[in-house]
Symmetry: C2
Subunit: 451 residues, 2 copies
């Protein structure tokens, strides 16, 4: 019986074996370890140790470990494996994972590996590789149990026995002679049914399936919404092609969320796939250059304001404060909006209401912060006029920034652009110049009126 394995003890042992250079003992140690743990250890080791471990693993374990690694470390390791061993490793994996593994290679390398794979498996893999990565076809496994309605529970059990234990199966699918999907029988139902019962009689016909070109995010939403363990994938004629299982869906959810989070910060999750600094720069720099061009607007506002040098020198001391407060308020609004759109808890009918709510929240917070800022300006900078101008300008600036932060993602969503890009450098740049313009505008107006 195992509790959660104690990582520290095992990894110490692994390090001892690596240092000692005892390849045979290492081999035995790795055979006894869970592949998921081995994958985790690899992330903490250096490149050389990783190679030694991969060499010491048998094909099946190597396959399981490789699929659990992050993309950058996997590609580093795969580069060192010859096409023949890679083919042997791929053969031990479920077809969808094998396709993912060899699909990441350069096209000519993929061909080399495929040439070492048995014809039948090769055809299946080529079929999977043809589907776009981020669709139902790209994440499904074609290994499903599909039987005819006239077959019995006993037939199905016999089929499951021959299929081996590795493939996780939560249901048996029922198809006609042309493989059109007719229904399914949950494993649970199979257990409790009479062995002689015909599948056609006990199947559920209320089956939700997804077309093979469905976006992976939609597939994940569906599995999440209905708490499915698997969802069948069909072609345009409703013929069964495979299933997407819940563990693939968890990966999709994490992948899509990561993509969203990176986009919000003006980057891309793909940057993680490489250790190369230039690769990361390529993903981040474009956003910063957009931002840089945008800052010209802020500079223009400041240049215009600086014409009256006396007033400007006093007012501009608080430009950083105004921009920071507007920026953070806007980030709060846009983050809430982007996340709720991603989680599908913000229907379009509530868009206007949501923007109003966010703006009201920001205005309230702006009154508090503006009041406090006025007070601070008075205490530390001894100028009541500046303090008087700072408060209202901050409140209005924060409300305007929040309006923009909440509305922008929803507008992007309406025109089918990913709302996550709205949180990034793009909006913050617009916000800065907006906040500055409001600040100098309101302040000048107040100073003119009062002064």
């Amino acid at each position: 019986m195992t509790e959660t394995p104690d990582d520290r003890e095992l990894i110490t042992e692994l390090l001892t074996l690596l240092r000692g250079g005892e390849e045979e003992a290492l081999r035995i140690f790795l055979r006894l370890a869970r592949t998921e743990d081995v994958a985790e250890w690899l992330h903490t080791l250096g490149a050389e140790d990783r190679q030694r471990i991969l060499v010491a693993l048998d094909h099946e374990a190597a396959g399981a470990v490789l699929t659990d690694l992050t993309a950058s470390i996997r590609s580093e390791l795969v580069d060192e494996i010859g096409p023949e061993r890679l083919a042997r490793i791929a053969e031990t994996l479920p077809a969808d994972e094998a396709a993912d593994l060899i699909g990441e290679l350069q096209p000519h390398e993929t061909e080399q590996v495929l040439s070492h794979i048995a014809d039948e498996d090769e055809a299946v893999l080529r079929g999977l590789l043809a589907y776009p990565e981020d669709t139902a076809g790209g994440i499904m496994t074609p290994e499903v149990v599909a039987l005819k309605p006239e077959e019995t529970v006993d037939d199905a059990i016999r089929f499951l026995r021959s299929a081996g234990e590795e493939i996780p199966i939560s249901a048996v699918y029922v198809v006609d002679d042309e493989r059109h999907l007719l229904g399914f029988v949950r494993l649970r139902r199979m257990v409790t049914a009479r062995p002689a019962a015909r599948l056609g009689d006990i199947m559920s016909t209320d089956v939700i399936s997804v077309p093979v070109d469905t976006d992976q995010e939609e597939v994940a939403d569906l599995v999440d919404k209905y708490s499915f363990l698997a969802v069948p994938v069909v072609d345009a004629e409703h013929r069964l092609l495979g299933v997407v299982t819940v563990d693939d869906v968890i990966d999709v959810i994490e992948e899509e969320t990561t993509e969203d989070i990176y986009k919000m910060a003006g980057s891309s999750a793909e940057e993680e796939e490489s250790e190369s600094v230039l690769h990361v720069v390529r993903h981040r720099l474009p956003w910063l250059l957009v931002c840089l061009i945008g800052t010209q607007l802020s500079s223009l506002v400041l240049a215009l304001a600086s014409r009256d040098i006396g007033l400007y020198a006093q007012l501009s001391i608080f430009t950083a404060a105004i921009m920071a407060m507007a920026g953070n308020t806007s980030l709060q609004s846009s983050t809430t909006t982007v996340r709720r759109l991603a989680l599908d808890t913000l229907p379009r009918s509530r868009f206007v209401r949501h923007v109003l709510r966010e703006t009201t929240v920001a205005l309230l917070m702006g009154l508090v912060c503006g009041g406090a800022a006025s007070l601070l300006a008075l205490v530390f900078h001894h100028n009541p006029m500046i303090g008087l101008a700072l408060g209202p300008a901050m409140a209005i600036g924060m409300a305007a920034a929040s309006l923009l932060g909440a509305a922008m993602p929803m507008v992007l969503d309406l025109v089918s652009v990913d709302p996550a890009v709205a949180s990034g450098p793009l909006v913050s740049t617009i916000n800065d110049s907006l906040a500055l313009t409001l600040y100098f505008g309101v302040a000048t107006a107040i100073l003119v009126l009062v002064g």
Copy 2:
């Protein structure tokens, strides 16, 4: 046979029924609909229509719909349901979902509902309500199939038949007389085993379980890592208490990610639970006040710089640009760091290397952006000296901001504070004053040296 249901048609029909006031037809329509769809429709309707639909649902459907709603809409609806109906609804739900539903009420309301529930179920619910919400105990269902090792596959099948179809079961657990967890038999294995086989002979003893007080995030990581459909929960004596299923884990992953994203923006996911503006303000305002106090540092830097008014008026035109570029670069670094820490792909042994990488990336981007900024300043503001100062200051400012953005989350992680708070207003405030100080410092130095 159903494909993905066509929402638009159904919701049009629902609206017609609601407008027509035909309660009986509405009742029938709802009985034919999937509860997951009904929950989705409720999110798009007004409060009054939501109430009417909930009244028209039978207890079982109402329970399924309520568990699928967002917290704010659920609590609005639950407030209108009497304790007796709520008890009937709770009885139709799996115990963990029933506990979640009535656990959200005020303590005295929870008591009222519990008093209407049968004694045996009440005891189970009280047991579950005692576990903290965000632990294995708080998300597990106590409804597991636990049998003795000497019982047979046939016994297990008979037990499953009597248990009813609703409870999702992926394995049968094997326990001794004191309910100590000995092993498990996957449903898959049950199907293919001989009916007379003893569970003790065919069970897997290599079972990973979690203590009842394990943090829900750890439970989710475990299920994700090993691709489990369920993980058993045990007490300190290793007695089986329940299981956490994969659909609950998906909810945990979304919940924890949402919490992270909101924290990064200086807010809290709890704000969503209420429609009240003041409630939202309470979660966001504290961060902004921290930020406001922090901006005093920026104002101080600017106040010091403004002493030499002539130079200041020219330099300060670019303060917005410097701060925006430093802020966005820092956000890119901190976001990458926070997300990789959350996904466990950044082991502590690589911390220093990661910070160096991020800083190098930022320095490279800083050189490009600084160069471009110098050029822009030259073209639009006709002052080569300012341009000369702006470039290096921007490059150094961006690298420093990135260093801070990457290091801060890791330092917080080392001292066991949630790294997500590091991306928020806290770091951006420090960044602003750092960038301004560097800007005026470097610029003054260059202008003094060159001029």
